[in-house]
């Protein structure tokens, strides 16, 4: 069975025993928890669309390892066409959920770990790639969700891992045994961790020789003994506990992040893909970040499509859609959104084959893509708020709308054009609120800023990859300068 159904995915999560803390309590049943469930629904959509003939061309791929039809989220990209389809799939998923669907981070991790472990084995004679491929075959066969875990808490940013007052602020190996390693530390901002079957841990930065214990990569079942999760709060998250559907903006879908803590986690050697080979940690970070920066040229565009549609509907319902400045703002939103998509497609089309056979994106263009993502969604969100009007944040609650006495006042005074029920206007304004400053803003705004690396990280890569010396040569030639 290489493709699970959506229902089988949900059932598989129920069989897991994750240690999750949310709002100060241990969650007994994460799948049905009203705050967590919308994020599970988003991941579930990656399974249901893979079964849909209308979307299978993007959502599935043929495994180069087994020849089986698999979910594209479990696939190693075998061509630039695969890289392009990845971005298109992510746009589709963003459109269908209006939220972060969380499964990209694992896909990006497996693709990065594949090529780096291959190159490590070739140079050092290690057996990491063989172990990784065995793991990946199982993931593909069982159609499992992998959480790619890179970002360490990092403590004092001015100090290297080994110089931190608390050594656990970077994930590290504390003991090497005959059977495996013992790991302590944590991974922050872990997207989709609670909805994952496995975690794939990678080092957070390029490590030096003195920090070799921090150059560690491994996989572990998400519910392994020694792993716990502290669920991240989101703006307006407790609206999901109120039993209303309008006020949450997106009643079905969402995303999540969590702090993942390793308390003397035991990892058997067969699940270890890097242990002290610090000279390869930089390549792993760079490739994972590159793939993930490409991803944002798809997922954020899909959510942007939903936000643009919501803003256009808000204008329709307000009776303002014919105003030239509204039309122009919608054009600007589309222009910005499609520019992001162009970057995602461009870095994919310009990708190349690595030694393992897996294709890597053009790193310069992927970093340009993400740099734009740190800016454009904010402008798209600003324009959506401009078009929607202040009611998106001052509107009465759903309970007031349904109230036997004041409901008619809400109905009367929050009405837009006569042909559209007040409830529909409320629904679309709440959706704009959800994406721009509610639970989904975590994914659409701040994750656009810091996810896959903060803006400065891209600027460093753009500086490295920008080929400035060649540009100087071109200028000298045109200007007639002979050194």
């Amino acid at each position: 069975m290489a493709l699970k159904t959506a229902e089988q995915y949900e059932e598989s999560l129920r069989k897991m025993n994750l240690k999750v803390y949310l709002l100060g309590e241990l969650v007994k049943n994460p799948v049905d928890n009203p705050i967590i469930r919308p994020s599970m629904n988003s991941v579930k959509m990656t399974y249901s669309l893979a079964q849909d003939p209308q979307h299978e061309d993007l959502m599935t791929a043929k495994s180069h390892l087994t020849g089986e039809k698999i979910n594209r989220f479990c696939h190693l990209h075998q061509s630039t066409e695969d890289l392009v389809k990845k971005v298109k799939m992510q746009r589709l998923m963003g459109q269908k959920t209006g939220a972060c669907f969380q499964r990209c981070v694992g896909m990006d991790a497996i693709n990065a770990v594949d090529s780096v472990t291959f190159e490590m084995d070739k140079k050092l004679g290690t057996k990491y790639h063989e172990r990784f491929i065995k793991f990946l075959k199982m993931i593909q066969k069982e159609d499992l969700v992998v959480d790619g875990a890179m970002t360490d808490p990092k403590g004092d940013r001015g100090l290297s891992p080994g110089k931190q007052e608390d050594p656990d602020l970077y994930t590290h190996v504390v003991e090497k045994r005959k059977e495996g390693i013992i790991v302590r530390g944590a991974k922050a901002h872990q997207t989709g961790a609670i909805n994952s079957h496995w975690i794939l841990v990678m080092p957070t930065i390029a490590m030096s020789k003195e920090d070799a214990d921090y150059a560690v990569s491994f996989v572990a079942p998400a519910d392994a003994e020694g792993i716990s999760y502290i669920y991240g709060r989101q703006s307006c998250d407790t609206r999901k506990l109120e039993g209303c559907e309008i006020d949450v903006g997106n009643r079905q879908f969402g995303g999540h992040e969590a702090l993942m803590v390793f308390d003397n986690l035991f990892v058997p050697w067969e699940n270890v893909f890097m242990c002290g080979e610090y000279e390869f940690s930089g390549a792993l970070v760079e490739r994972f970040a590159g793939y993930h920066r490409q991803s944002y040229g798809g997922c954020k565009v899909g959510v942007g499509d939903v936000l643009i549609g919501a803003a256009a509907l808000a204008a329709d319902y307000n009776g303002a859609s014919k105003a030239p400045h509204i039309k122009d703002k919608l054009i600007e939103m589309i222009h910005l959104n499609e520019t992001l998509f162009s970057c995602g497609i461009a870095c994919s089309a310009q990708g190349h084959k690595t030694d393992s056979g897996t294709y890597l994106i053009d790193l310069l263009l992927a970093n340009v893509c993400k740099q734009n993502v740190t800016r454009f969604p904010y402008e798209i969100a600003r324009l959506a708020e401009d078009i929607s009007g202040g009611a998106m944040v001052t509107m009465a609650s759903e309970k007031d709308l349904r109230h036997p006495e004041i409901g008619k006042l809400v109905e009367k005074y929050f009405k837009g054009i006569a042909s559209v029920p007040t409830e529909n206007r409320c629904r679309i304004l709440r959706l704009v609120e959800n994406i721009t400053l509610g639970t989904a803003a975590v994914g659409y705004r701040t994750e656009s800023m810091h996810g896959a690396g903060s803006p400065q990280a891209q600027r460093i890569m753009i500086s490295r990859q920008g080929n400035l010396e060649q540009k100087k040569k071109l200028a000298k030639e045109i200007a007639g300068i002979k050194d």
Binding site: P53, Q54, H55, E56, D57, L58, M59, V84, K85, K88, M89, R91, L92, Q95, D305
Partner: protein, 98 residues
């Protein structure tokens, strides 16, 4: 004699036409000798209709072309690379089936 038709879709990342609605319209217009399938089986079909949401038609690859004798390509507002109004897409596809 019955004529088998398989329908394949592109992935649908940003369709400018309603692909499912178009296939429903084609289905409604078909005479009884045509049998429409989602093309999931491995058998060879008489005719294939590839329904792509935009002009890029990224699913138009040689991989599955052997699964039908003849293919009709719908790509956005076009049929076999000729631009047509959206409301005429179904009838033009139908004319090509005959």
């Amino acid at each position: 004699m019955q004529i088998g038709i398989c329908v394949k879709y592109c992935g649908g990342c940003n369709p400018i036409i309603d692909r499912a609605k178009l296939v429903q319209e084609i289905k409604k217009l078909l005479s009884p000798e045509f049998i429409l399938s989602d093309g999931q089986t491995q058998e060879q079909w008489d005719i294939g209709i590839l329904v792509c949401g935009c002009l890029t038609a990224c699913a138009n690859k040689p991989d599955f072309k052997n699964s039908a004798v003849k293919w009709i390509l719908v790509a956005g507002h076009s049929v076999d690379h000729n631009n047509v109004p959206e409301k005429e897409l179904a009838s033009i596809v139908l004319a090509k089936l005959k």
